[in-house]
């Protein structure tokens, strides 16, 4: 028991980093995903082709590789871009998750009855009013279960940041485990991940219930 309290501060510090990557990635990639989905669906060919390529690239390569590339690869390419570890991790995660969210949102957008847009049009709502007041809330209801899957994935994916030397939850556990030659820290890491996913699952259920008041 004494040992648990001894390693807890370092594990909690790691949890803090895990949660900050998680939170900021969602904060940026959800709205960006919606924008990319809208761009992917425009009649403007160059934009939709570019976005299609981007989504293919991001979904077609491992996130681990993308992390390494953003942190170590960009400077080597002579771009002059040297990102701090934390920023590099965020950039890679946001780029990756935006691509997944874009595809989820595209599915949601395509499921909306065109009559909704026509209704908005005859009521003279402009493009952004239609998107924000009519389309987005209806798309949210459709995509929440799929988004929920990605959110849960993201908590665990965030452990990949160890590869560029960031001290997240898993790394904190790993350090303690090899130092003290025991599996206890890793068991605790598992428990913390489970607690986090349980928390977010509950939260997602609440959001689903909120959207469940209309059909």
């Amino acid at each position: 028991m004494h040992y648990l309290f001894e390693i807890l501060p370092s594990l909690l510090a790691g949890t803090k980093l895990t949660l900050s990557i998680f939170g900021l990635t969602l904060l940026f990639s959800l709205p960006l995903g919606l924008v990319c989905a809208l761009g992917r669906m425009t009649h403007f060919k160059i934009l939709s082709s570019l976005l299609r390529f981007y989504i293919w690239l991001m979904r077609g390569t491992p996130l681990l590789l993308q992390l390494i590339f953003v942190f170590y690869g960009l400077p080597l390419l002579g771009t002059g871009i040297v990102l701090p570890r934390y920023t590099a991790a965020l950039v890679a995660f946001i780029l990756n998750y935006t691509a997944y969210f874009a595809e989820i949102f595209r599915g949601g957008l395509q499921a909306i009855d065109p009559g909704q847009v026509e209704s908005a049009k005859v009521l003279r709502l402009n493009y952004w009013q239609t998107i924000t007041h009519i389309i987005a809330p209806q798309v949210m209801k459709i995509v929440i279960p799929s988004i929920g899957n990605e959110v849960i994935n993201l908590i665990k994916d965030s452990s990949l940041v160890y590869v560029i030397g960031l001290g997240d939850l898993l790394r904190a556990g790993n350090v303690a485990a090899s130092r003290d030659v025991t599996l206890v820290p890793l068991v605790m890491v598992g428990v913390i991940y489970l607690a986090l996913t349980a928390l977010f699952t509950k939260l997602l259920q609440k959001i689903e219930a909120y959207y469940g008041r209309w059909k």
Partner: protein, 217 residues
């Protein structure tokens, strides 16, 4: 007065409307009737700005009028769709107040007072907080009418207003339409229900499906 001159519209090379002329007098009820595939709905969609016309001209009070140009703030066309197209995520009250608030920049209180007045006139008092899925077909239609009226249109268009209603409700719609006429509202009604059209129309336009060459079959 709304006037259509030689309106032509094709989809993928197939002519749907060929040189259609139409005059709708202020405060009158114009019924567009005819069998399916005759272009009734297409004509209504052109009038309400949901489709661009290929050629011809639309005049409002003698002046050129482009219904697809959505910039003017005063709404000219209101539309009640066949399946109503209410916003499922908004309550009855929100469905009606959304556009007046966003487009006409009315404050919430003013928009709600006006909406409640419309709901009362359409026998929907008490339904303010319900969502569209909690309403019957007839109630949904009346909400759609209220939503269109809240934008103060000069002309109100209906696409097949009786197609989804049982006979009792058909008379309710008829009453609403005639009541609006008494208030000098100009109304254009697309319907395949000839009896209904005969009961309410001041003028009637019969459309027929076109053959390949674009003349009436």
């Amino acid at each position: 007065m709304l006037e259509l001159k030689k309106i032509t519209k094709s989809f993928a090379g197939k002519k749907i409307l060929n040189q259609v002329d139409l005059k709708v007098k202020d405060g009158s009820i114009m019924c567009i009737v005819g069998q399916s595939g005759g272009g009734k709905t297409t004509l209504l969609r052109c009038i309400s700005g949901l489709e661009h016309i290929d050629s011809g001209e639309i005049l409002l009070d003698g002046k050129h009028f482009d219904p697809t140009d959505l910039t003017p703030a005063d709404t000219i066309m209101g539309v009640v769709f066949q399946d109503y197209n209410l916003f499922p995520h908004l309550t009855v009250l929100q469905n009606i107040t959304l556009a007046p608030q966003l487009v006409l920049k009315k404050d919430q209180t003013t928009a709600e007072i006006q909406a409640k007045d419309l709901l009362q006139k359409l026998a929907l008092t008490g339904k303010e907080k319900l969502y569209p899925w909690q309403l019957s077909g007839g109630q949904k239609q009346r909400v759609a009418i209220a939503r269109a009226l809240a934008m103060h249109p000069k002309i109100l268009c209906y696409d097949e207003p009786t197609s989804a209603l049982d006979p009792g409700l058909r008379d309710t719609v008829k009453e609403i339409i005639l009541k609006l006429k008494a208030q000098k509202m100009t109304q254009i009604i697309v319907t395949h229900d000839l009896d209904f059209a005969n009961e309410i129309a001041d003028d009637m336009l019969k459309v027929k499906p076109l053959n390949q060459k674009g003349s009436e079959a």
